[in-house]
Symmetry: C2
Subunit: 308 residues, 2 copies
Amino acid sequence: MGITVVGSVAFDSIETPAGKRERCLGGAATHFALAASYFTEVSVIAVVGEDFGAEEEAVFTKRGIDTRGIERATGKSFFWAGSYLDNLNEAKTHQTDLNVFASFEPKIPAAYAGTEFLFLANIDPVLQRRVREAMPNAKLVAGDTMNYWINDHRAALLETIKGLDVLVINDTETKSIAGNSNLVQAAQAVIELGPKTLIVKHGEYGATAFFSQRSFADHESSHPFRAPAMPLPEVVDPTGAGDSFAGGFFGYVASQPEMTPAVFRKAMFYGSVMGSFCVERFGTERAQNLTREKIDERFEVFRKLTHL
Amino acid sequence: MGITVVGSVAFDSIETPAGKRERCLGGAATHFALAASYFTEVSVIAVVGEDFGAEEEAVFTKRGIDTRGIERATGKSFFWAGSYLDNLNEAKTHQTDLNVFASFEPKIPAAYAGTEFLFLANIDPVLQRRVREAMPNAKLVAGDTMNYWINDHRAALLETIKGLDVLVINDTETKSIAGNSNLVQAAQAVIELGPKTLIVKHGEYGATAFFSQRSFADHESSHPFRAPAMPLPEVVDPTGAGDSFAGGFFGYVASQPEMTPAVFRKAMFYGSVMGSFCVERFGTERAQNLTREKIDERFEVFRKLTHL
């Protein structure tokens, strides 16, 4: 039971039309883990520097997240600075300091070995594969990536996604992996590269799941499924929305006794729910202070938004 | 009963990655009328030139559309040439010849006077208002517009949309009317300008209906409703998709005995269904050759795509 996630734990300096935050806790593994923690047990594999203190650690431990896999290294944590002043859908990066992340060698605590659900957040595909191989008990492996790996480390990336059960990426990444500008054709091409299921995130328009014959062991294949995003009167900070989507999606799947098409559809909604909460505040502020009741209330809002 | 639509009937020369067509029948009123004709009786008010012959007329009459309001003027019909080579979501206009449309003075046949459903497709808002005032029996009036009228004829446009029951426009137009880049805030601001209901079309991502307290006479107001677009493996020609959406939406509403939130939600799906058929062939090719059975089959595909 439970999920292990490997990925970045970072500090982000963010500017949006709603304001500015300096060095707030961020990183893909952080956003993912907080979102997933409302559904199941979560363990993190990451590396941080000496600037990661008791306050940051408490953000994880208050949510019951296992931090034994967060390695402390000499130096500073991964730092990113960016703004969304012109366009809330696309960050403008001002600074990226990899710091201790540059020489990240994931170390997996013995206690994590039994993990059945593994999420490989956006890091070097060589490291993603190494973690996957070190966790042979994982029965469902999902992952994310980004254009840098697609464009400049294509061979390594293709080798990694070959072994994924679920790939969670956005429209541009899907089209870029496939070299095809039609989303449905691109999705089909990506699925032929290995992932059993492809989830394409559309930002403010939601996400679509594309299934294959191999998606469900004991069930027939499923038609595509579209989850909307929430129409929100204010987006404070979009940073981490995609990782929160992945956390809500995978957290719900991991909490269920069976992996069925119906479970994956509900998981798509929970992904959108967690993404919608994430953007309501800066950084992880909202994800730190939710309850399962609030999450399920919003799930019902999504149902009304979409069901006849 | 039945719908009257006023708008353009035109010839379009279109180039897309799927090929080229010269002077195929197009125009907002044409696409709207064909889509709506699968649900209810439709009458058209438009002006065409001497190049509009028996073949073009038959496209309407074969679908039972009343063409008595299509005026024949001396000269050529509205002509548009455009391409979608770089981006299927945005047309590049190469040529626009208004021709007889430049001096369009809508003439309403006496037989149309009893129409209960009126659709004001994208034309000069002064003409839209004139038609609306000439048809006092219309119990539901919907309309479309475009950025040209929003930016350069704002006062006339605001006067027209004040009297609309339903405004059907896209994201950019909504944000542009409101001067607000957040869709939910912009939608609220547009509704405060008069329309009881606002439908925002998101292109390949579907459409969202925003309701107000005034949307339904005998029913409580409704939460927003999102209809997806169909994930299609090939988009042959996006021209007319938005008008086909409006035709499917309004055609279904006009076919129902009551205007309820549930009827509007199903109408959103029928709008998306008709938009999805439109883009599968050039011009009106697909909309000419459908059956209600095929339409309802695709409606069920939309249900599966969205319902848990």
